[in-house]
């Protein structure tokens, strides 16, 4: 859990770090803290997993990953956890989750994101997943993204 100071630090950095030589000092000044305290708290948030990492968030379209497919699979309930772990371990899968079905419209319970420079590349990756799932998979689909409508990340109210 986080306290009020952590929260203030998240609000101050969620839009990005200041692009100045001493960004943590700039944040400290803004929050009325010492730079040491800001850095110590950021290290604590990293250690606690509240911050996954600090760095550049690319627009994957702009760096050449123009085909982004959400592959979705209807996998037998008694095998989905074991198979999900194996699919999550594939080096080209960036996210892999088990989620509830929404029947009848949505029969899929396993989601794995794949990316490529083309749709052919994505569908080849989907085929690898299909092979791995074998007979446990009853139905599947790939939902390609055609437009980023929003990509701001977390935004806590100030």
């Amino acid at each position: 859990m986080i306290d009020d100071l952590d929260r203030a630090l998240i609000v101050a950095t969620q839009g990005g770090l200041p692009l100045v030589p001493r960004p943590y000092h700039a944040i400290a000044e803004q929050l009325g803290l010492s730079a040491d305290e800001v850095m110590q708290r950021l290290r604590g948030l990293l250690a606690a997993g509240v911050i996954r990492r600090i760095g550049a968030v690319p627009n994957h379209y702009a760096i050449g990953w123009t085909a982004n497919g959400m592959t979705v699979w209807d996998v037998a309930d008694d095998q989905v956890d074991e198979l999900g772990a194996r699919i999550g371990a594939l080096d080209f899968v960036t996210h892999c989750y088990r989620r509830p079905r929404a029947l009848p419209a949505w029969p899929y319970n396993l989601f794995a994101m794949v990316h490529g420079a083309s749709r052919d590349e994505c569908s080849a990756k989907a085929e690898e997943i299909r092979t791995l799932l074998g007979a446990a998979c009853r139905a599947s689909d790939i939902l390609y993204s055609t437009r980023i409508l929003k990509k701001t990340g977390l935004r806590l109210g100030a």
Binding site: I2, D6, R7, T13, G15, G16, L17, L19, P21, R22, Y24, M39, G49, V50, I51, R52, R53, I54, G55, A56, V57, P58, N59, Y61, A62, I63, G64, T66, A67, N68, G84, I87, G88, A89, V93, T94, H95, C96, Y97, R98, R99, P100, A102, W106, D141, L143, Y144, S145, T146, R147, I148, L149, K150, K151, T152, G153, L154, R155, L156, G157
Partner: protein
């Protein structure tokens, strides 16, 4: 950004690509972090700052800073989708994106043609945000909360 459109600006050279490859994590927490990162890239602090500014302005980067895991701070993170009629797509997009709780939103090719991620400070915030979107749009929102996470690591190197 539309998939078919060529990215404007983009990655200019090997140093931009190296920034992408090396700086998607592990940005230092120290007095002069840009200077430290720049030294590893073999460029000056000033050049790194200028390049980051340009990559952000050209929308090659959507952000530079901490990436948060809202669940670790007691909040919730849920994937949701709706089927927006084509004739109302722009209007529905504006209504959905207006909520600060919507962290990401993608158009996808499916009857469920709008897929977004809700990130809220408390678990209750998810149901509130979904109710608000359903009220504002008049459309049904399907929530797909994760039941199990097998892997998450969104680091993609430049392909250009």
């Amino acid at each position: 950004m539309r998939e078919s459109a060529a990215p404007k600006g983009g990655l200019n050279d090997a140093i931009d690509r190296q920034i992408l490859a090396c700086l998607q994590g592990d940005f230092p927490i120290c007095e002069r972090p840009y200077a430290e990162a720049a030294a590893q890239l073999g460029i000056s602090e000033d050049e790194l700052l200028q390049r980051l500014e340009r990559l952000l302005a050209d929308k090659v980067l959507t952000r530079f800073g901490p990436m948060f895991q809202v669940e670790a701070m007691g909040g919730a993170f849920v994937l949701a989708a709706l089927a927006a009629p084509e004739s109302r797509y722009e209007e529905v997009t504006a209504l959905v994106n207006a909520l600060p709780q919507v962290a990401h939103n993608y158009r996808r090719e499916h009857t469920l043609n709008m897929w977004f991620v809700l990130a809220t400070e408390t678990p209750d915030g998810i149901a509130e945000a979904i109710a608000r979107i359903e009220r504002d749009t008049g459309l049904t929102v399907h929530a797909f909360p994760k039941e199990r996470e097998f892997f998450v690591e969104m680091k993609l190197e430049a392909r250009l």
